[in-house]
């Protein structure tokens, strides 16, 4: 499965890239699989990802697919554009 990943500040600084194309193998890939991949691929993101719940993950980063905040259980489709965005905190 081919995915486009866009990193927004501060994640562009942490990964050193603004955008990349990645390949994930296997069928029925979920956001949680992508999160694991992300942690392995970019060491500086390892501490930012969490798999225990959407609430805990979103304290550190937001993953948006087609302008929707993705849940860990959401399936991914080939060619999807994923945005790695800063967490939301504040009023």
């Amino acid at each position: 499965m081919k995915l486009i990943v866009r990193y927004f500040p501060p994640f562009d600084d942490l990964t050193g890239i603004r955008e990349e194309e990645i390949q994930l193998s296997g069928s029925s890939i979920k956001i949680s699989d992508f999160v694991k991949f992300l942690a392995e691929r970019h060491g500086k993101l390892t501490s930012k990802v969490a798999l225990e719940s959407d609430e805990v993950l979103r304290r550190n980063l937001i993953i948006a697919v087609d302008s929707k905040i993705a849940r860990l259980s959401d399936p991914l489709r080939d060619g999807a554009v994923l945005k790695i965005l800063p967490p939301i905190a504040g009023g």
Binding site: F8, D54, A64, L85, P86, P87, I88, G90, G91
Partner: protein
């Protein structure tokens, strides 16, 4: 008196220059929990609905809560309650900093001001003593200057709550500022103008007394259990402040753009974000009393036309309301506007809202360059933004009517202006778009002080927070259309409690849940309050404020949101086509609340709540 309260409210009569200490009964404290609840009870009992907000008979009530001054994290807060000159109904403003802590150390849970001083006056409250002092020499000074002068003549370690020139000149969108250059604002509802109407320039507080806590060991233990989780979970808030979420909110269609007409603004959002601020002007973080997060920004602009800006930096509401809403992407100009609003004592939300409105009026030809005295109020014009803030604070030219707030300005401009004046009950809408979260439409329409995101905070449960105690084990669907009335009512009740305890709502981003707060309350007060009693107290507070408004004539006819929000699809961005099904959600809300179809709490509901 149990722990949590000193049991003393200072009553100040500015007409007679007299003070009296009034007892705060434990029963009243328990029924209304603290700051916001007790302030509302006092207003309900002592300020009749026909009272003109600028009349000496209106009260200005400062109240702390049982957590203020304790070790409970994020609790350095207090509330200011009054009848609002901006909306003509219940008004309150919640603020952080250190002033509330000093007031309690000085021996008082709160102060209520009545009357009007015959000349500019400030009050010096210190260790149980109270002095009326002449404020003629600081009348006209901005709040940063006032802070410096008054601390010099009282105590360098004192904390100052003061108005600036905007409040002195009765601008209805004026704030009461705290902690000088650290710029903590009690901004909403025009509380600064009420203070100005009383010729009260400032209240200075300092004390060394103890804050009563029933079980100090239990408090320490509970804090230890959660403290590190809160710090870790809010690290981004510390690093980038509230405006660190700007880019993400733009992606979701939440960021308000071009007076609520546009759906996204990708490059602009990044230019005004907390991440850009961190790279260009951030010098440090500010922590309110007992805070372990540090979301406050400290900035310094070194060069360019806004060189010299130094102190409290823009929050998310500033970058959105004076940035994206006006299409201004110059972060240094936004920092300048933030500083001007702090210094002059203006609500930055209302200020941004009314200037964006004026820009649209200018675009439509309803106002022109002659009326603006040469200011080109075009979208994205940062210089015009700065100039207009100056005019509002000095009440010069068009600044006079803009300082009255967007509702009155629209009535004055006439023609179709009311169609793009974005407010609820006269209070300018803050920087979250109900088209991005359906619950927010009902939240704005039914917030007791007018359009307010913090009195319900329901939308955070539609994007990142859960609350199992209220039945929300999962994050809610922001575009969902059922259960929103119930969500709003439940979260409004919870926020009433947090506003009364005095604990910052940002602690919810640190994983703190309702039962944690109840444990803390019981440890501080020794009350042994049950979950049911706690929840009902929140509902009681919310209904009491509603009843104040009902006495002022508020019904369902006033529980509306601007037509632009219910009818204008933006066609782009993360909420391109969504319009909240407002009428249906509002009916569901009334039904869940036990209110009539006219939006009035039923006698049965009031009896159930002991009102």
């Amino acid at each position: 008196m149990s722990g949590g309260f000193l049991g003393k409210i200072l009553r100040v009569d500015l007409d007679e220059r007299t003070t009296k200490v009034q007892e705060l009964p434990d029963e009243l404290a328990r029924k209304y929990v603290g700051a916001s609840g007790i302030g509302a009870r006092i207003l309900y009992d002592e300020v009749p609905p026909a009272t003109e907000p600028f009349s000496p008979k209106n009260l200005l009530i400062y109240m702390t809560g049982p957590f203020t001054g304790t070790k409970i994290p994020l609790s350095g807060r207090h509330t200011i309650t009054t009848k609002s000159p901006l909306t003509g109904i219940f008004g309150e403003s919640d603020v952080g900093g250190r002033w509330g802590i000093e007031l309690r150390k000085a021996g008082f849970d709160g102060i209520k001001f009545s009357g009007k001083a015959s000349s500019p006056t400030y009050l010096w409250v210190h260790d149980g003593e109270v002095d009326f002092r002449d404020a003629s020499h600081v009348w006209g000074l901005d709040t940063y200057e006032t802070d410096e002068v008054l601390r010099k003549e009282t105590d360098q370690k004192a904390n100052v709550s003061s108005i600036g020139p905007a409040g002195e000149r009765l601008a209805r969108i004026s704030a009461i500022m705290h902690d000088g250059r650290d710029g903590r604002a009690a901004a909403r509802c025009g509380v600064g103008a009420v203070m100005g109407s009383k010729n009260l320039k400032a209240v200075v507080a300092k004390g060394n007394g103890p804050i009563p806590v029933a079980d100090e060991d239990r408090v320490n233990q509970l804090i230890r259990e959660l403290g590190s989780t809160v710090v870790q979970s809010t690290k981004r808030l510390h690093d980038f402040g509230t405006s660190g979420m700007t880019v993400t909110l733009n992606e979701l269609g939440d960021l308000p753009i071009r007076n609520w007409k546009q759906g996204k603004w990708d490059q602009g959002a990044e230019r005004i974000s907390g991440q850009t601020m961190a790279k260009t002007m951030l010098t440090g973080q500010y922590y309110c009393g007992a805070c372990i997060v540090g979301c406050g920004r400290e900035v310094k602009v070194e060069g360019g036309k806004h060189a010299g800006v130094h102190g409290a930096g823009p929050e998310y509401e500033t970058v959105a309301m004076t940035g994206s809403l006006c299409l201004v992407d110059d972060l240094e100009a936004i920092a300048k506007v933030h500083e001007l609003c702090n210094r002059y004592g203006l609500d930055v939300i209302s200020t941004g809202g009314v200037i964006a409105f004026a820009m649209e009026a200018y675009e439509r030809g309803i106002i022109n360059r002659e009326m603006t005295e040469g200011v080109e109020l075009t979208w994205g014009n940062a210089d015009a933004l700065v100039e207009t803030v100056e005019k509002i604070s000095k009440r010069e030219g068009i600044g006079w009517i803009l300082g009255e707030g967007v509702k009155r300005a629209a009535e004055k401009f006439g023609r179709e202006a009311e169609g793009f004046a974005i407010h609820v009950k006269g209070l300018e809408m803050p920087a979250h778009d109900p088209r991005a979260y359906n619950s927010l439409s009902v939240g704005y329409a039914t917030a007791n002080r007018g359009a307010c995101h913090l009195q319900g905070f329901s939308y955070v449960f539609e994007r990142q927070v859960t609350m199992p105690e209220l039945g929300y084990n999962d994050i809610q669907d922001r575009f969902g259309t059922s259960g929103k009335g119930e969500l709003v009512a439940k979260t409004q009740n919870l926020m009433s409690l947090m506003d009364s305890l005095k604990i910052c709502k940002f602690i919810l981003f640190g994983g703190v849940k309702m039962t944690h707060m109840l444990d803390w309350l019981n440890a501080v007060t020794g009350w042994g309050m049950s979950v049911e009693e706690f929840i009902q107290a929140g509902e009681r507070i919310y209904n009491l404020k509603r009843m104040y408004n009902v006495r002022c004539g508020v019904t369902s006819k006033d529980d509306v949101i601007p037509q632009r929000i219910t009818s204008h699809r933006r066609g782009e961005g993360g909420a391109a086509e969504n319009l909240p099904p407002f009428d249906r959600l509002l009916k569901e809300y009334y039904h869940y609340r036990g209110w009539s179809d006219d939006g009035i709490p039923t006698p049965e509901k009031l009896r159930e709540l002991g009102l």
